[in-house]
């Protein structure tokens, strides 16, 4: 329905692409499963993983898309007719393709379900309103008829944000924002652009580039995620240390709710009462649908430099970055891989650069060392001064500069991980990520606790998981930790295997002082812990806001607030 490419149903990548074709079981290319794995992983990596994990590579392909079970739409006919009256028949769809493409998100749990042929969480219909008024009218109508509404942007949630689960088992419609994806206004002097929520990063960056401007928000999901989704989930891009979290880029937004429309935000800043805009950010569809955004843009940086460093150990790396943070010397992109991730990164890459890096680390006796990628952006003279000051502190703390090739290699592959995941899923692996954030003082404890929990939960007699962590998104007060887990999949009970590990890891990170989520959001997956995160009274406050704006509880009831 949108001019922007859609995601494949059972994995990552644009529908109709090579990888997607394999995953969809559609117009198959002549690519055997074995060739696919060899293409994805160099031999050393396959051997390493096999040995580390106790994993035997095997072919575990998804069922053909045609075999995915889909129940008949439960949308009552009178509601359907009323919605057609509002939006036109072409914007109220309940065909198989429309519903399957808007079923769930892209978490490991989502993919396992979709690959096994399960679409029991599919919406009953897909609506595509044209603007704020139509969206508000849809919400009022659905509220009156007791129909659940799930907003759908790029469909890239990795926390069950699109689950549509409802305690009362009411019919569910998706409001797809694909028709609201244009630039509506650009105020260059004020560095503000007004956009539709269904717009994606690449399209916005292209539109801005003609004016020499950029948004600069680059999460791993950048190719498919939408601007409205970033706002609804409090996203953080890879350059967040420099340009800020997505929260920081939102100067205002329009939120359509079942009881009316809220216009929020007073750029540049206001002291007129509590921050209502901050209630819409991170509301994950539970209060309504974001229908317009005013975003802060900036001139395209004159210089962009990525470089690699190595630190002697994880502890030394943390200490060095903490010092940079305290002195306001963090670069715009900062990413410190722990020894496990550093080793895996080198093994997963067959490039000459990776071989050279391995040698360099050994020569520096950083064999148990950590790879640090730094990215600098801005005016050349200021970047140079910042780099000089930061480099001096890093060297004092024992770090070694590896040069730009390592940095550029990371940058070139910054969006590739989700593609690789599909190929690993095809071969008997569990692959998932989780993330948190903590103060600099608490980070080492949180790191240890999460690793121990995941290893204890996923380890068996002959197997143990590979737990790879990196620090990213640096702040003066702390940073986030991003954990990637690989393990031999329990083919009999894959969902339960991960749910147990996730539960253990989340309990552990909260107990150690981490936050429930730094940028993936709450969704369905984290809601059992929301009360622990914000307190019972905090949940009550959120519920009071929801009750006021969504009195019948139709707005994405399966996420955020404990059921």
């Amino acid at each position: 329905m949108s001019a922007q490419p859609e995601l494949t149903i059972q994995g990552w990548g644009p529908a109709g692409s090579r990888v997607a074709h394999v995953a969809d079981g559609g117009d198959r290319l002549e690519l055997t499963a074995d060739a696919s794995l060899k293409q994805a992983l160099p031999k050393a990596a396959r051997k390493h993983l096999s040995r580390e994990l106790g994993w035997t590579p095997r072919h575990t392909p998804p069922v053909p898309v045609a075999d995915i079970a889909l129940a008949a739409s439960r949308l009552p006919e009178d509601v359907r007719v009323a919605l057609v009256g509002l939006l036109g028949a072409e914007n109220v769809r309940d065909d198989r393709e429309s519903r399957l493409r808007r079923t769930g998100g892209k978490s490991y749990l989502d993919l396992v379900r979709r690959r096994s042929g399960d679409a029991s969480d599919a919406p009953d219909a897909v609506l595509t309103p044209a603007d704020t008024e139509q969206t508000a009218a849809v919400l009022a109508l659905c509220s009156a008829h007791g129909v659940v509404v799930v907003p759908f942007g790029g469909g890239t949630s990795v926390v069950g944000g699109l689950s549509g689960a409802d305690a009362d088992d009411r019919p569910v419609v998706v409001v797809d924002l694909g028709r609201m994806s244009a630039v509506k206004a650009l105020d260059v002097p004020s560095s503000l652009v007004t956009v539709g929520p269904g717009m994606r990063g690449p399209a916005l960056e292209e539109a801005l580039s003609t004016d020499g401007l950029t948004l600069g928000h680059l999460p791993q999901s950048w190719e498919f995620a939408t601007l409205g989704g970033y706002a609804a989930t409090r996203s953080a891009g890879q350059s967040s240390t420099g340009v800020g979290r997505f929260d920081d880029l939102v100067a205002g937004l329009t939120l359509a709710t079942p009881v009316g429309v809220l216009e929020l935000g007073s750029p540049p800043a206001s002291a007129a009462g509590p921050d209502l805009l901050g209630l819409a950010l991170g509301s994950e569809g539970s209060l309504g649908v974001i229908t317009e955004l005013r975003l802060r843009v900036r001139p395209t940086p004159r210089t962009t430099e990525y470089e690699g460093w190595s630190t002697r150990s994880w502890a030394a790396g943390l200490a060095a970055l903490q010092r940079l943070a305290r002195h306001d010397l963090l670069p715009d992109v900062v990413r410190l891989s722990d020894p496990d991730e550093t080793r895996a990164n080198l093994l997963l890459s067959s490039s000459a650069g990776a071989r050279a890096l391995r040698g360099a680390l050994r020569a520096r006796r950083h064999g148990e060392g950590c790879l640090l990628v730094l990215g600098w952006e801005g005016l050349p003279t200021i970047v140079a001064a910042r780099k000089r000051a930061a480099s001096s502190l890093l060297r004092e703390d024992g770090a070694s500069r590896l040069g730009t090739r390592v940095g550029e290699a990371w940058r070139a592959g910054r969006f590739s991980a989700p593609y690789l995941r599909d190929q690993l899923l095809d071969h008997g692996l569990l692959v998932e990520t989780l993330e948190t954030a903590a103060t600099w003082s608490a980070l080492p404890t949180v790191y240890d606790a999460v690793r121990r929990a995941l290893r204890d939960s996923l380890g068996g007699r002959d197997s143990r998981p590979l737990v790879m962590t990196h620090l990213s998104h640096g702040y003066a007060t702390g940073a986030s930790l991003y954990v990637t887990v690989l393990a031999d999949r329990d083919d009999a009970l894959p969902l339960q295997q991960w749910l147990g590990a996730k539960r253990a890891a989340t309990d552990a990170l909260l107990a150690a002082g981490g936050t429930l989520t730094h940028h993936h959001a709450v969704g369905a997956d984290h809601r059992p812990w929301m009360e622990q995160e914000v307190g019972a009274l905090g949940v009550d406050v959120l519920r009071a806001v929801k009750d006021r704006l969504d009195p019948r509880g139709i707005c994405n009831p399966g996420v955020l607030l404990p059921g």
Copy 2:
């Protein structure tokens, strides 16, 4: 009750100081009214003001403090006894001095009332709880007994934030936070300090300085305002362009409410649902009392450089600063005075520096020019690079550098305006300030609209007001405007004179696209416009939050939300 100096009852400055003695009518020094004015204003300034405003200097002193009328306390005896049981008798006071010192704030309206002997808005008692538990217990008790609670920090509100007005005319107690004013913890690696809400900036800066750290929040009220007050009102310090608004410095806080205690904030950042911390910031006591704060600190800057510039005109100055802002080149302190403020600043100062500056402006044909003060802080090499890049853009835009003396002169007098105000009030003048913020695109219109409204409202046959404006607090998307108004006082109806002007200015700035307040907060004075600022549904959302946390409506009911 606090070890920190208290404000004088009828004006600014520490109780017992020289100026305060004159104002209080207390232990008078031998300083005649005429001498006081001559001391405050050089002759040229008196002449200029007299001519501009149609003002005849006259002696209009406050009534002696002893003559201020104070009604008997209305606190019911059973409540008083219960409060004494909670806090001890020494922390439940209803003596004249305790109540008068916590009556209202320091707006022009407050001062006019207090100077005329009116303390009809005095609280019935003053409570000083020791900690969060005691404060929560006080709130629960007052809620049960229908007693209004007004939190009191430094008492520096300029928007009627301490009015205590209540539609049901219930008894009012002030919760003075003076006993909760210590540093409780310092986490140097995480750049976080935990403090009591009654602590003031000078005490915190002194405590931090031993670790080479600073908070860096310096509003004009710095000598007396409290950290809890900054959070409750969303303050912005003079260095906000560099260190951020106070909002940006709050990593977490504890809010005691009538129904329980909220612990808010997850440093460094979280995506676990909407920002509840942002609901407490700017809540102005309407949801409860802030009883603890975790604040972000930073190393004391190695370099601090203030410099003066001049721009050819207000429009040229705005354009130049907008360009700096867009390119992320704004200094840490930025302050552009319009021609009226520039001229007045020069006249109000009798220093050699001011004379030199007048000459310099004339020589540069900036006779109608604007004074621009820039402050730079940080590492010398990075400051140098930023200054070079910014200076180059400023010169391209026609600005001239005046040197460091002008900048340092501004810095030296940064807290002096409220002291001067008292002396002008003693001599028949209306003196008040107001402020707003707008996007760079809207700023020129807002500026014109406010000036016109104030001139129309305050101008008479033989008089016109002096309306002086400066831009400060620069952001990528806009900036704030701070307006100081001087006019010949209507001695018969001084309150009505200002209320009319304030209404006209506020209507005008909102219509032109400004925000209701950038850093003074809403208080009682701005609440009639809150619905226009955030919409009826926005007000409803805030009311839903208040109803949940303060079901009997005892928390500072006279502020923020429309009555």
